[in-house]
């Protein structure tokens, strides 16, 4: 472990902490400001600041301190998220946005296992997210299954339905496997629309979460401070994100993460060194859908409603664009990219209708000038700060 006085460790954790603090203040400001001209000013400021920091070479120390002190900075990131939520403790709209960011990040972490590591491009991310939400709707309405188990079931059902795709996905490669997932997304949407048991095109209501007799949809107050009911969802979503983040990190920093990289980069060479290609693709695809399904199950309860139109191919594209924007394979990049993709269109009402144009532009600019994403994935270190 890297301690306070560890001399062998070269990078300090301070640049990372400073970047985190600045980022937190910035996000709070962005979320608090309402006036459109201020928001545009803030966004311009962020772009200029990022370019300037890059120009001055300030970004390298930040990424080094994240690479070597991930545990500590991860702890600080949790504190930062809690600070943002505390600042907006009575603001329904902002807290819903924050919860959306957290759950979309969990979903993209799932996509990251599939595409970032195993190279299986899944264009049905939103479909598996929706399957999770439908699971909550049905289970919460008709059964007394405890809601934490409902979340787990949402993940399991998404993984199970995803396994229907395994055969075609394993038999095809690259673009063709992606086409299989697109076909699945269209099929699922049509199926949900014509199926009255699941509410047809109108969808279903989802009952809010209840944990240990505590109903999440009641407003809370501590003393004389009123709190938004979304705060409870924030806590559960944050815990889910932490668990998913740790899981993905451990996966990457294990022999399994290495297997996935090896088969993505060269299936033939990987086969010649004993890798069972099908086994690891199945592992990655199933684990990814499981994470996406859990996130969807919770998101369904947060929104209180699920319909086929909420989870379309376009939404799957948003998830994939988050992955491309953030840096394929880098969980930290996904957090940053989800904030950008989810928050900006909500705050910039003027561009709401052009949001897809914005995503398209963003992805093209990133692919042109920074093809590995905003925060490119560093070389694997199995134990941060470990030295022989």
């Amino acid at each position: 472990m890297v301690g306070e006085g560890d001399r062998s460790s070269q990078a300090s954790w301070l640049p990372g902490a400073a970047a985190l603090a600045l980022g937190t203040v910035y996000v709070i400001a962005l979320l608090a400001v309402e006036k459109q001209s201020f928001i545009i000013g803030l966004l311009a400021l962020a772009i200029v600041a990022a370019l300037a920091a890059n120009w001055l070479g300030w970004l390298a120390p930040v990424s080094r301190s994240f690479a070597e002190h991930e545990d500590r900075l991860g702890g600080l990131a949790i504190v930062a998220a809690v600070a943002v939520a505390a600042f907006f403790h009575d603001n329904h709209f902002v807290l819903l946005l924050v919860v959306t960011v957290l759950l979309y990040t969990v979903a993209t972490l799932g996509l990251n296992i599939q595409f970032g590591y195993a190279g299986v491009l899944n264009f049905a991310g939103a479909s598996f997210f929706g399957i999770g939400a439908y699971t909550s709707a049905v289970l919460n309405a008709h059964t007394a299954v405890p809601h934490l188990l409902v979340l787990l079931t949402g993940g399991l059902i998404a993984a199970l339905i995803g396994s229907l795709l395994l055969l075609p996905v394993l038999r095809t490669r690259g673009h063709y496997a992606a086409l299989v997932t697109i076909a699945f997304a269209l099929l699922l949407k049509t199926f949900l629309e014509v199926n009255d048991v699941l509410g047809g095109p109108q969808g279903l209501q989802v009952k809010g979460m209840k944990l240990f007799g505590w109903s999440f949809n009641d407003n809370l107050s501590i003393g004389r401070i009123d709190l938004s009911f979304y705060l409870s969802y924030f806590v559960v979503s944050l815990l889910l994100l932490i668990a998913a983040f740790v899981l993905v990190r451990r996966l990457e920093r294990s022999w399994i993460g290495l297997n996935l990289d090896a088969l993505r980069l060269d299936e033939t060479a990987a086969s010649c060194f004993g890798l069972d290609i099908a086994r690891w693709k199945i592992t990655a695809f199933t684990l990814g859908n499981f994470l996406i399904g859990i996130a969807g199950a919770l998101f369904g309860m947060v929104g209180g409603f699920v319909a086929p139109n909420n989870y379309t191919f376009a939404d799957s594209l948003i998830l994939v664009s988050i992955l491309l924007l953030g840096g394929i394979g880098n969980p930290w990049g996904l957090v940053v990219a989800t904030v950008i993709v989810v928050v900006i269109p909500e705050k910039l009402q003027t561009i709401q209708e052009y949001r897809f144009l914005l995503y398209a532009l963003l992805v093209i600019v990133v692919l042109l000038f920074r093809p590995e994403g905003l925060l490119p994935r560093p070389v694997r270190r199995y134990f941060p700060g470990w030295r022989p």
């Binding site: 899981l247 451990r250 996966l251 294990s254 022999w255 399994i256 290495l258 297997n259 990289d261 090896a262 980069l265 060269d266 033939t268 060479a269 990987a270 086969s271 010649c272 060194f273 004993g274 890798l275 069972d276 592992t283 070389v379 694997r380 270190r381 199995y382 134990f383 022989p388």
Partner: protein, 258 residues
Amino acid sequence: MSAVLLEARGLSKRFGGVVALDRLDLAVAPNEIIGLIGPNGSGKTTFFNVATGIYGSDGGTVSFAGADITRASPQAVYHAGISRTFQRSRLSLPLSIFDNIMIGNHKRLSQGLWFNLMRRAAFKREFEAAYGAARALVEVFEPQLTGRMFEPVAGLPMIDRRRIEICRALVSQPKLLLLDEPSAGMTHEETTELMDDILQVRARNRDLTIIIVEHEMGVIERITDRCVVLNFGRKIAEGPYRQVAADRQVQEAYLGVA
């Protein structure tokens, strides 16, 4: 141990109308270093690909250590104890030196999901042991690279990539090593150095049998016990290098009929 480690009998492989391997018979004894030579397109690499299960054969059999591996998958061939390098370097360029070598160490690493995700202390012990093995191997080939174990191989020159590829093939301690043109893209001096390193590894592990495909005849002469010459997928000569080099048929295959 049987007197024959790898044996091909009547092995054939066709690609459409092209006969890449034509009823090839080949026997390799344990601890031998065999040179597989012949003009371009004579079937040397095809033999490697059929033997390692990348291609299926169109006739004949291959057996390894007494077991039939004609229809074995590449995975099964690796687990049986055959490792290889590729004619065109097939390292995973974005991955580190250590990662690339660990790909070759697959069968000696714990692959369970629970072990990898949840038992991190045990994983760390295995990781440290594997690091030690990889480092020791790299030390033989190029001590300077041991300080760069966690750097991407994309930044390394060709000779270092070759070295890493050979380390990847050796780390699982195979019984048989198939080297496909290790000198391709390297200078004469670099090739000599690489061969010395391979011989050094073999000096420590006398059980290692090697089949080497090579165009550099100096290499073949220096390190092989015996040569097999292929032309149009057929074996046209077999014996010590000096003997096959003097063979009229071999000279014709290489130089054309005068």
